[in-house]
């Protein structure tokens, strides 16, 4: 009986992400992928029924990988400050070390693949982030605020810092380099804003 070859699947997946990131969705095809990955097209069709299925599965897998990275060491029972800090550290680490993942996500913009990926991420994150928020509200640590407001105050500032770092600056004449010290300084203001 032929078994799933996880190394082969991983190779196909990595090459597909690389190709979509560099060349976009329009130019992506299974034959091209097979050539680039050094496998027969039939091998790819063993694991994926068509191009749509392949991109969907890879997108959802990438989303799950991101969730696992963000939720590493995170527990919904943690205090609000402790839990949010772990998320900040995990999100920063993931964003700074996964430029290709971020570009891949960008390439999926306006596609149904991205919708499926976002739904998978939302469902997975909701399993832990939902109870975490509920606990924090019940313990009286934070107010019950609109999720978009929460995101804008609690998470978005971190991604601003990441973007400044990737662009090398926020203001034209000032070089900006991300550091844990800067992240903690920003985080402390966020906590002051959110904690009752």
């Amino acid at each position: 009986m032929r078994q799933r070859d996880e190394n082969k699947i991983q190779g196909i997946r990595e090459k597909a992400i690389e190709m979509i990131t560099n060349e976009g969705l329009e130019n992506f095809g299974i034959n091209k992928l097979a050539k680039a990955a050094g496998v027969s097209p039939a091998t790819i069709y063993i694991y994926y029924k068509d191009k749509d299925d392949l991109i969907t599965q890879i997108s959802v897998d990438e989303g799950m990988r991101m969730c696992a990275a963000i939720l590493e060491g995170f527990d919904p029972e943690m205090t609000f400050e402790e839990g949010l800090w772990i998320q900040w550290k995990n999100r920063a680490k993931y964003s700074l070390n996964n430029q290709e993942g971020a570009s891949f996500y960008e390439q999926l913009r306006n596609s149904t693949y991205r919708e499926k990926m976002v739904k998978a991420i939302h469902d997975e994150m909701g399993k832990k982030a939902g109870p975490f928020m509920k606990n924090a509200i019940e313990r009286g640590e934070i107010n019950d605020i609109t999720i978009e407001v929460f995101w804008s105050v609690a998470i978005a500032p971190l991604y601003s810092l990441v973007r400044f770092h990737q662009e090398g600056h926020c203001f034209k004449d000032r070089i900006f380099v991300f550091s844990e010290k800067i992240m903690k300084e920003t985080f402390d203001y966020v906590i002051k804003a959110l904690k009752k």
Binding site: R2, I30, S40, P41, A42, Y45, I46, K49, D50
Partner: protein
């Protein structure tokens, strides 16, 4: 279990071709699932069956006057 997946290069390129093949494959009781990737140059037919061989599917598709060539791994 992967050995029941059969993969073919075909010339089933148009919507009409697809309808003709669909009529034959949908009603075949030994075919569990099948798909054709018409976005690919090889219009790859993928058949999941625990009973049929490459030769069986080849005969079936050839009987509908389409090319059907086994894609090797």
């Amino acid at each position: 279990m992967l050995e029941s997946i059969l993969i073919f290069k075909t010339n089933i390129t148009t919507e009409t071709d697809l309808l003709i093949v669909k009529a034959a494959l949908d009603t075949h009781h030994q075919i569990e699932r099948w798909t054709i990737d018409q976005t690919d140059v090889d219009c790859v037919l993928r058949v999941i069956s625990h009973h049929l061989s490459y030769a069986d599917v080849n005969r079936l598709i050839s009987g509908l006057n389409y090319n059907c060539e086994e894609l090797t791994y």
